[in-house]
């Protein structure tokens, strides 16, 4: 049961006046405008709308669009760390695909439609079918009925027959014939519903457009087996329907047996942090991101360089650190953000990121920091990447590094105490 909530309504407190007069309004306004532009947790679509987006070199949206131009039914898997800009790239790809004329792209945050703990085979084909139903409206082909499909999607009152459970009861078992017809890959999805979506897409395509669905948020699924089943069956069913797919999957899709998930796709895209230390073009991109967001005279070049270093090339971390540094500068009475404010912000970020680390994880981080050695073998190793304590860079080779905000603190940490 929800605990009692309290709403305290408008009260003009005594301190309010002090706050309003604590400094020149122009300074406060300048900082508040800056803080709004570096809202790291804001919806990525909003940043694009506000023209704060900077196109990165080698953007995966470029690759996705180019592939769809020649293969509109292709299946793309996108993998990348938290805050690396995956959603931004999906939204950008959607906008560009829709401008091509012969593709209709839809962005879909699966977590907004489906409880990620209950994802099962059929979820993605059901969501795609729902999109087609809306797009076709009254245009469905003659003799075509959405009703059974929608009952399957939304559920209905009645008995659920589990495939094959009642077949042959009391009549003996089925003796297979010599010839076995080829089976499709979606054992747990009723074939009639895959055919419904397939027919609907064929009808939609008569307008000269192919549907492509960009499924976001499945990287947040923690049940890997459930993810593997969905990938195995829904991706095949969507292929059968001729619908193009872009799907954001968990990092572990690429590890161990998870590699099989990646094999179900035609193309694999990595959205990794930008290795600013070894990628001059990438570093320039990060600088442009800061210039676009910071505005005139807010950030010195030295401060921007330090922000890029401490971010480790993770876009959301870059913007979060820029915000925290702005916070420090404002509260300390400065007119612009200096290197000292960046260092304070990075120190705070590192301390927060280290909360909850176990001794063996600290040892792994120290080993990586001192030797550069890290072999991703266990769930614990993957967790260090998933939580951004370790960053994975993919250039001509794969390189791992301790997140720079942690790197600064590891040396200060005593085994039995705090710093």
């Amino acid at each position: 049961m929800m605990a009692q909530a309290r709403c305290i309504l408008c009260y003009d407190g005594a301190l309010r006046g002090h706050l309003r007069h604590e400094g020149p309004m122009t300074r406060r306004e300048k900082f508040r405008a800056y803080m709004a532009r570096v809202a790291a947790a804001a919806d990525p679509a909003l940043a694009i709308e506000q023209q704060l987006y900077v196109h990165p070199p080698g953007a995966i949206s470029d690759l996705i669009v180019a592939r769809f131009e020649i293969d509109p039914g292709a299946r793309h898997l996108v993998v990348g760390g938290v805050g690396s800009g995956k959603t931004t790239q999906l939204v950008t790809a959607k906008n560009r695909l829709n401008a091509l004329g012969d593709l209709h792209a839809e962005y879909l945050d699966v977590s907004e439609k489906q409880d990620l703990r209950k994802v099962r085979p059929g979820c993605l084909i059901a969501l795609a079918g729902g999109l087609l139903r809306g797009l076709l409206g009254a245009e469905a082909p003659k003799g075509f009925a959405w009703e059974p499909f929608m009952k399957w999607v939304d559920g209905s009152w009645g008995l659920e027959l589990l495939g094959g459970m009642l077949v042959g009861r009391g009549l003996g078992g089925l003796v297979p014939g010599v010839v076995s017809s080829p089976q499709h890959d979606w054992d747990d999805i009723p074939n009639e519903h895959v055919m419904t979506v397939s027919k609907a897409h064929a009808q939609f395509s008569r307008r000269g457009r192919t549907l492509a669905v960009l499924f976001d948020a499945l990287d947040r699924m923690t049940d890997h087996e459930a993810f593997a089943r969905v990938v195995e069956q829904d991706i095949a069913a969507l292929r059968k329907a001729g619908i193009g797919v872009v799907l954001v999957g968990p990092i572990r899709s690429l590890a161990g047996f998870g590699r099989l998930d990646a094999d179900r796709f035609d193309y694999l895209h990595f959205q990794t942090p930008i290795d600013a230390a070894q990628d001059a073009e990438g570093r320039q991109f990060l600088m442009e991101v800061l210039e676009k967001r910071a505005g005139e005279g807010m950030l010195s070049e030295d401060a921007a360089s330090r922000l890029i270093f401490f971010s480790g090339g993770v876009l959301r971390d870059l913007i979060s650190l820029a915000k925290a540094a702005g916070d420090e500068a404002y509260l300390r009475g400065a007119d612009s953000i200096g290197v000292e404010h960046v260092h304070t912000a990075a120190d705070a970020y590192g301390r927060a990121l280290m909360i909850g680390l176990k001794q063996e994880e600290i040892a792994t981080l120290r080993h990586l920091q001192s030797t550069g050695g890290f072999v991703r073998t266990s769930e614990g190793d993957l967790a260090l990447i998933a939580t951004r304590r370790i960053l994975e860079y993919r250039g001509s080779t794969i390189r791992y590094a301790v997140h720079p905000v942690i790197g600064e603190l590891l040396g200060q940490l005593q085994p039995t105490g705090r710093t």
Partner: protein, 197 residues
């Protein structure tokens, strides 16, 4: 093994929150054991006094309660507590539902350090919204009354069978364990300068 987060007083923390216009700002305030609900209530009062807008305080028993409450309160200040009783699964659920938690207003979580550790480890997507926006509430005269402070000190003396002078002496010699209760003890005695000795 852990690190001290930067310390803040309640009023300073509220001011920091006020200077972040959003949208969808998330900040965390780390408090001592058993203090979450009270600190959340005081923080709500502080925000109200400073801003005068809509301020909601809520203790959340489960991830589903957070989602439900947020969906009904997209605007204004939201001060949430109750996370200290959560296990890893609740944080994982919240992480999966992060998209449903986009707000136009600012959300402040008041929780103990172990709960923040769980969030960092089990809910990396949500944690990335905070960035480094987590502070430790500096305990002392700004938050506890003299009577409350003495009650807490008495409990610590009884629990560890040490006097205040012995704790300070051990801290000065670098022999005081780094556990949170000892750190809190020093802060309550006004000897936060000995932390990390």
């Amino acid at each position: 093994m852990s690190l001290w987060l930067a310390a803040t007083e309640l009023g300073d923390f509220a001011l920091r929150a006020l200077e972040r216009p959003g949208p969808n700002e998330w900040l965390a305030l780390i408090v001592s054991a058993g203090e979450s609900a009270r600190a959340a209530r005081k923080l709500g009062e502080e925000l109200l006094a400073l801003d005068g807008g809509l301020v909601w305080t809520e203790s959340v028993a489960a991830a589903s309660a957070v989602i439900e409450f947020i969906q009904e309160h997209r605007e204004g200040w939201l001060v949430l507590s109750g996370f200290d009783a959560w296990g890893p699964e609740e944080w994982r659920i919240l992480d999966g539902d992060r998209s449903a938690m986009q707000r136009r207003g600012t959300t402040l979580l008041v929780l103990e350090e172990p709960a923040l550790g769980l969030m960092m480890g089990q809910a990396p997507n949500l944690a990335s919204w905070f960035g480094g926006s987590a502070w430790r509430l500096e305990q002392g005269s700004h938050f506890l009354s003299a009577e409350e402070r003495e009650t807490r000190l008495s409990a610590l003396r009884h629990q560890f069978r040490l006097s205040d002078a012995e704790v300070i002496a051990r801290a000065e010699q670098g022999q005081l364990p780094g556990d949170p209760p000892f750190a809190e003890w020093l802060v309550l005695l006004g000897r936060g300068d000995l932390l990390g000795e």
